[in-house]
Structures are given as C-alpha cells and as structure tokens.
C-alpha cells in the first residue's frame, strides 16, 4: 500500500529531442529528467526557446519520436495516453458547440451514454465556476471563461496527470491570479497531479509544490526548487515575504537564460537584415 503511494505518478527520464538533419540540428530538449509525485503540482519554467513546448508535446504524446523515456507506471509515452490530459495554450474550445457539449466531448468520444455525459459535464462545469453558462457558445464568453471550459473538458476524462501549456498566457494579470486560485482549489479537491508549463514566474510560485527551471536552448534542467509555501494557498500568498524570496531566487537563474535568449534573437534579426 505504501509503495503505491510513494511511487511517482510520472517519471521523465533523460529525454532528448533534436530537430533538423545533418549540419543544422537543433537540440530542443537536452537530457531532461525529473519526477512528478502523486497529487503534486509541478511547474516547468524557462525562457522562450527553452524547449518547454516541445516537452509538453512529448509528454502529451503528440511527439512520439524522442530519446529517453516518459513513464507513467510501466508504460512509456509515445502517443496520446488516457492517463494524460492536455490543456493547450491557444483557444481550443470548439466554436460550433456550446459549453456543455464542449465539456462532454471526451465522454462522447468514449461512447458514454448521453444522460451520464451530461451529468458529469454539469459537475465539472460547476467546478470551474461556469454553472450558468452551460448553453452559451464560446463566442459569447471571455478568454478566461473559454480557458475554464477547456480545463473542464480535460478534467472530465479524469486523467492521472493534468498537463497544461501556458493556459493563461493570453489573459491579463488579474484574471490570471484569480484563475490561479480556482486551479489551486480544484487541484487540491481532486488531489490532481498537475504539470504546468509556463514562462510566468509569479504564476509558477503561486501554484506549485516544485519548480523545474530550464536553461535556454539546448534545454536542460538548471535547477529544481521546492516551494515550501503553506497549503491551502490563495492568491494572497503573492504578498508574503517567502513568496518574494522564491521569486527573486528563481529570477536569478532565469535572468541569465532569458538574456541569452534575447541576444540570440537579436543576432538572428541582424543576420536577416544583412541579407535584406
């Protein structure tokens, strides 16, 4: 019994992903390893170009061709796996379906009967706080609400691991903080193992138990930081001293990587201008 509890939900082991061929090879992910324990909230943070989106696609099974392994239990992920639920960065609600039909979509694919689908959809729509919008269409909702629909849609399939790729990137700061609260609530209530890919420092510290800091390309694990802020947590934690310390500490690591990234894109632009 204890063994099962202590066994990690997911093990990322020495994952390497390269793009391109012959002379022009880019290593997006370079020997990345970390574990995610059951019920844990882990964030992967890094500057643009650190390979986090590639990692997201690998863990989600959309990119099956990689070296190393991502293990869930005994299985190596190489295609979309029922244990992994993905929430994408872009608008991903189906514009032609209303909210409840969107949320029930995964169950519809599995052939679950309509009444049961609708019941379970009610439950998760409630959980993300959109109970009075079941019949609305995505075009009638705000960006934040649409992302909540996407999250509910992923949760309904009850994945062991919730995998999110910068889901709040397009939202304003205040909406983000409040949605962060919602996510924390849901995650604690369901004891949902969650892996969040983000570039947002405060978001990562606010939500996570641990943070994996990545370097700029080629993406390696620079550091793993334990976030020992108390649980249950709300967005109020943003004002605390401990919070500030964590952010400062991680920014120290990130700044160096982000500067390298910036220098890189500047020289790329200069090269393009020279060829003009």
């Amino acid at each position: 019994m204890e063994d099962i509890c202590l066994q990690p939900a997911m093990v990322v082991d020495d994952v390497v992903k390269r793009f391109g061929r012959d002379e022009q090879v880019i290593t997006a992910v370079d020997h990345v390893s970390f574990n995610v324990a059951q019920g844990e909230f882990v964030s992967v943070i890094g500057p643009s170009g650190c390979g986090k989106s590639t990692l997201f696609n690998i863990i989600g099974g959309l990119l099956g061709d990689y070296e190393g392994s991502v293990m869930i239990g005994d299985e190596r992920i190489s295609a979309p796996h029922p244990a992994v639920g993905m929430v994408f960065q872009e608008e991903s609600t189906f514009p032609w379906r209303n909210v409840i039909d969107n949320v029930a979509f995964p169950l519809e694919l599995q052939g679950v009967a309509k009444s049961e689908r609708m019941d379970r959809a009610h439950h998760f729509i409630d959980m993300v706080g959109l109970a009075s919008f079941e019949k609305s269409f995505p075009s009638q909702l705000s960006g934040g609400m649409r992302q909540r629909v996407s999250i509910a849609r992923t949760l309904i399939s009850q994945p062991k691991i919730l995998l999110m790729d910068e889901p709040f990137a397009a939202l304003d700061e205040q909406t983000r903080l409040l949605l962060g609260d919602k996510i924390t609530q849901i995650q604690q209530a369901l004891n949902q193992t969650t892996l969040l890919i983000t570039h947002n420092l405060t978001e990562a510290v606010q939500l996570s138990d641990r943070i994996v800091v990545m370097t700029y390309r080629p993406g390696k694990v620079k550091r793993i930081v334990d976030i020992k802020l108390p649980r249950p947590r709300t967005s109020d934690v943003v004002g605390s001293d401990a919070f500030g310390h964590y952010v400062a500490e991680i920014w120290n690591d990130l700044r160096e990587e982000a500067s390298r990234g910036m220098a890189d894109s500047e020289s790329a632009a200069a090269r393009r201008g020279a060829h003009g």
Binding site: F19, G20, E23, Q24, I26, A28, G49, T54
Partner: protein, 263 residues
C-alpha cells in the same frame, strides 16, 4: 523552435524544395502521353479527344492561318477599354459612396447584388440596344467589371487604420489632403485586388460573349473552328485562351503582392 534550418544549396535541395510542383507537372505530362497512346491505338475516338500531338501541331497552323495573334489583339483591346472604363468610373463611385455613410448603407448591398448577377445572360438585350458590334461586348464587360471595383474601393478606404487617420487629423490636414495622402494610398492594395477581380470578369465576359455571338477575336475563333469540326484547332485555341488568361492573372497577382507592404 526549428526555425533556423538552413537552406542547403545544390540539386538535392532543389528537388526537396520543388519536388511536389515537379511531380504535379510530371503527372500532367504523363497523362498527356497516356491520352496520346490511347487515341493512337483506337481506344479513344479521335473525334472526341484529338491526340495531343495533333493539338500541338494545330498551334502552328492556328498562328499562321487564323491570325491568332491579330485576334488576340482584338480581344485584348476590347478588354482594356472595358477594364479602363470600369476603373475610371468605379473608383470615383466607390470613393463617393465611402464618403457618404448614408448612401453607402443604402446602395452597397445593391452593388453587391449586381456583382453576383449574371449580367452576361442579358446579352440578347445588349445586342438589341447596341447592335452587333464590339461596342456591345465592351459595354457588357464594363458593367460586369464595374461592381467589384466599387466594392473593393469602399472596402479599401474604410479599412484604413483609424490611427493613421488620427495622425492626419492631429496634423490639421484638410479633408482632401486626408483622402489623397492617407486614405487613398492605404486603400491602394485592396483597390488593386478589385482591379484584378474586375479584369478577370472582363476577360471572361469578353471572350464568352465573343463566343456566344460569334463576333470579335478569340471567342469567335473558337466558335468558327468548332463549327468546322476542326478539333485539334479548337483545343489549341482553348488552350491558348487559358494561357492568356493565366498570364494576365499571374501578372496582376505579382503587382498586387508588390503593392502590399507589411502593415
């Protein structure tokens, strides 16, 4: 992510870059050869599909005997007159409609309906009104090509980014300066799209009506050759018309792309 994959030089990279296009062209050539074979061995009746080799030979005959270049000149002349007229009349009308929101809301839909209407169908009417002459063809093509220019002019002018207009107003520009120095240049790419569309309609109308009433340049030639049962000739001229049409279309498209700076 993988954005800096360098272009490699040499024949191998040429194949990678143009492989699909070459494959497409190659399959058409192969199809033509297959047709040639099937006709020669009699599977396909040569009075239904002439062997491609006959069609190619007919090209030469058509140039020499049927004065295809002269006829092309006649057709293109009609096209240019109609298209020019459409631009000279259409752009001012479009600008006027844009200037008056009331008239615009009242009439824009009507112009849209006119754009979709089968004007070519009224050719018997135009024949009666204008007689059996190139004038009829030009007038019909003019009307058909008018609507897209009006619509695109309105679209282009109203699509000017508000901030640019505000810049002009903050510099105390007069209404006329505003139009010529800000609205019109900004609208030019879209207006040109309208010109390209208009040209397409004009070409289709001119050649189509020439064919239908058996008068004029290329359209009439197709009619004559068809009535003489000169199949290879008919096919040859049809291909020629398609080539001319594609030529102008590509030309105008290039100009249109060149006119579109990054916004």
């Amino acid at each position: 992510m993988a954005e800096t994959l360098a272009k490699k030089s040499g024949p191998r990279s040429l194949f990678f870059r143009y492989g699909p296009e070459i494959a497409g062209l190659a399959s058409l050539v192969v199809a033509a050869l297959v047709f040639e074979l099937l006709v020669r061995i009699g599977v396909i009746n040569r009075f239904v599909i002439p062997p491609p080799s006959d069609v190619i030979m007919a090209f030469e005959r058509v140039v020499v005997e049927e004065d295809i270049l002269g006829r092309t000149g006649a057709t293109v002349f009609e096209m240019i007159v109609a298209a020019l007229a459409a631009v000279l009349v259409g752009v001012p009308i479009g600008a006027a409609l844009h200037h008056s929101p009331l008239w615009r809301r009242a009439l824009e839909d009507w112009v849209g309906a006119m754009a979709a209407a089968p004007i070519v169908l009224a050719f018997p009417l135009f024949l009666v009104l204008f007689g059996r002459s190139p004038k009829t063809i030009i007038v019909m093509a003019f009307f058909h090509g008018l609507a897209p220019i009006i619509l695109k002019t309105i679209e282009g002018l109203s699509g000017t980014r508000k901030v640019l207009i505000n810049v002009g107003r903050s510099l105390n520009m007069t209404s006329s300066q505003l139009f010529w120095k800000i609205l019109f240049p900004s609208a030019l790419p879209v207006i040109f799209t309208g010109i390209r569309l208009s040209w397409t309609f004009v070409l289709i109308t001119v050649v189509g009506v020439e064919y239908l009433i058996n008068l004029g340049g290329l359209g009439q030639l197709i009619n004559e050759l068809a009535e003489r049962y000169d199949l290879p000739g008919t096919y040859a001229v049809i291909f020629f018309v398609i080539l001319v049409s594609v030529f102008f279309f590509v030309l105008l498209e290039r100009v249109e792309l060149w006119l579109r700076p990054a916004r």
